[in-house]
Assembly symmetry: C2
Homo-oligomer: 232 residues x 2
């Protein structure tokens, strides 16, 4: 019986509305009408849909153009709740360098960057195959410590959370014994792991299976922007 009172904030219904608007927009290239929203969110009256839209507008999740058909527009803020558009917003969680530990991320909640400032947009079609993009995150490389992975200072590494890897996948690993983070191709051999640099002219390093090795994620993509000219 009793519906749980959600006091102020956002309710399931609000999210349902946002999700549907987003989904409809994605599929049809235009926002839904009020009646279309009501139908899918199970609200039989247009006034109630309007009621929710007003609230969502006040909360900043959408903008409306008055007395214009389909005048609903999701704002950036919605990306904190559902992913919108053809572009994926991947949060940049922090730097990555040899000497500093890789960021831990709690399994469930991963997106929701407080400010959308530290995120990059990636076209969905640019992602490998059917990478749904859930939980992807990005790190910005600091310093030259990843040159053996053909990755430069300033490059952005897009990662997928993982604690295991298959042979040949590039992973971010933390080596507690060396106190070092590194990006390498991962191979499991007889009694050791082989960590192969992307640069074919460089030699692999070997880790015995008895030694600790923590896989923190798989590398999905590397992006290098040539914003500013090289100094020297």
């Amino acid at each position: 019986m009793m519906m749980v009172r959600k006091s102020k904030g956002i309710t399931d219904k609000h999210i349902k509305v946002l999700e549907f608007v987003n989904e409809y927009q994605l599929r049809n290239g235009r926002p839904p009408s009020i009646r279309e929203i009501g139908e899918k969110v199970n609200i039989s009256s247009t006034s109630v849909v309007n009621y929710y839209l007003l609230q969502l507008e006040k909360m900043g999740y959408l903008e409306r153009d008055n007395r214009v058909s389909r005048g609903v527009r999701l704002t950036e803020k919605v990306n904190q709740i559902v992913q919108t558009g053809n572009t994926l917003h991947v949060p940049i969680l922090g730097p990555i360098a040899a000497g500093i530990p890789l960021p831990e991320l709690q399994p469930g909640v991963s997106y929701t960057t407080d400010s959308e400032a530290d995120a990059i947009a990636i076209a969905r079609s640019l992602l490998p195959a059917k990478e749904k993009g859930d939980g992807l995150y990005a790190l910005q490389v600091q310093g030259d410590s990843m040159i053996d992975a053909m990755i430069n200072d300033g490059d952005i590494v897009v990662m997928k959370p993982a604690t295991e890897a298959r042979n040949g996948e590039m992973v971010a690993v933390w080596l507690p014994n060396n106190n070092e983070a590194t990006l390498k191709y991962f191979f499991k051999e007889k009694d050791r792991y082989r960590l192969q640099p992307a640069n074919p002219t460089m030699k692999p390093i070997y880790i015995k299976k008895t030694e600790p090795l923590e896989i923190k994620g798989k590398v999905v993509m590397v992006i290098r922007r040539m914003d500013k000219p090289l100094a020297a």
Copy 2:
């Protein structure tokens, strides 16, 4: 007097319509109404707008949902005429490797890939600063010849057409004397050019100003997708 007869194909008016629909969609997140189109394209009758929309639909530039307000949707094909959306479609013109010459591109026409198959989508916000993205093109690296630029086999290099460069910019150059294409940071010195590899552990090569050196473009971005695992 006489309007030039455009026989079959697309007329200026058609393009005006497509451009406006695209622009409106970009700005408002929804397609324009028929009357809004007419207003901006200088057509005073809704039936005439409808007339053009029918033609554009037949030509495959847009799809319509009948008796649905703002039921106009631009198709991929429109990207051959105007760039749409938050994503930029950059055509992949071909491979790049040390031994093969860089593709020549005629100044005006650069986009319009016949099939949209060989193009990648890049979020506009991912591009450096106010790079408008006009005339950008991409090349796919073949082989290991660009490792000194920290660029791998299979990487995608996004380029901007250019024949000159400022110091510190990474450019694609063709060295006729060596019959070689290469990606290097460009520096003009007293009586020579210094071509500096991105990999800081590698040494530059020098080209006397008397020797030929053709700058083919500036490197805007490098993208590496980790689609499939490494074989070895």
